[in-house]
Symmetry: C2
Amino acid sequence: MLTTSEYAVLGLLTFGEKSGYDLWCFAERSVGFIWAPAKSQIYKVLPRLERSGLVRSRLVGETRRFDKQLHRLTPAGRAALRRWLTTLDADADPDVQLLKIFFGRHAPPSALAAHVAAYREHSVRTLALYDALDRRLPRDDRNDLPLAVLALGLRRTREAVEWADELLARLDAEP
Amino acid sequence: MLTTSEYAVLGLLTFGEKSGYDLWCFAERSVGFIWAPAKSQIYKVLPRLERSGLVRSRLVGETRRFDKQLHRLTPAGRAALRRWLTTLDADADPDVQLLKIFFGRHAPPSALAAHVAAYREHSVRTLALYDALDRRLPRDDRNDLPLAVLALGLRRTREAVEWADELLARLDAEP
DNA sequence: TCAGCCATGTAATGGGTTACATGATTGA
DNA sequence: TCAATCATGTAACCCATTACATGGCTGA
């Protein structure tokens, strides 16, 4: 098992060979919504992945001053990513589920659908929880703002359920 | 400056004297949506707060086996919380903004409104970013799922802006 | 009788952040 | 000329999580 960051980097590398800096920029303008690491974090993850043989790096000299390092997936790395994407975990952090959906192109279609379903189920459970909270909290001044914030949670979670439903429908339609 | 966890505990203690365990349960069923610490985390925060004089603790013996400890805010603690709630920071983590709104009852009304406005602005900026991403990403197979996940981000963020607008209107209406 | 809640912690681990260093190139 | 971007890292810190320990009480 790797960390989420490591899997995320593996996932990003499916888009092609990249330097650490490339990865950082690319992450920001793609997965950034769910996973936005510090630059230094990426430079710590890459050697770890290389030591495990999941990534191979090569120096590209003469690009400016530094010897730029390009990193690409090894077959083992691709396999590790695929294993991760095939592993179902209903209780995983929803953001991790979203990451898996993000990289779902490299998962077997059934696993992809399962991740979306799991995300949906998670949202449904959260919705039930918030609903219960909402019903339990007495309507008085002191709870006014907590209730308002909770209302945001409710809206957000309903949205998530709808979104998952639509995506599931789409995945069903186009096999 | 304290950590977010410390401020959160101070905020929860405005609801009354509580033990560490109480705080943990109470957090789960109130701020849990934005801030859900591990139990051990609370037991680490409390002594820190007591050393700083922001919380006073007293032993309540004879409750079961353990000497249960109840903690309550000192005037200094209340002042620290209020200072935090009065401090504006447009670039703060949106979850921190939400926390401040959650505890907004203890903030000056103008500061509360400012936090909601800041949260709104943050969401608007995020929306612009996602919109740009959405427009830039080429519509091909490989971007299909990233685009789907991005769509969730877009919906969520639009919802956030709406929510903030409505809350601001409400705050304006009832002074 | 046995799981689960109350209640308070310790220990170890670690991932991630912030801050810093370096320095050439490019656009305003 | 001055800030920003490219490009790669190191160092230090620390908050938070996970796992563990303890043990009486309560309800199924």
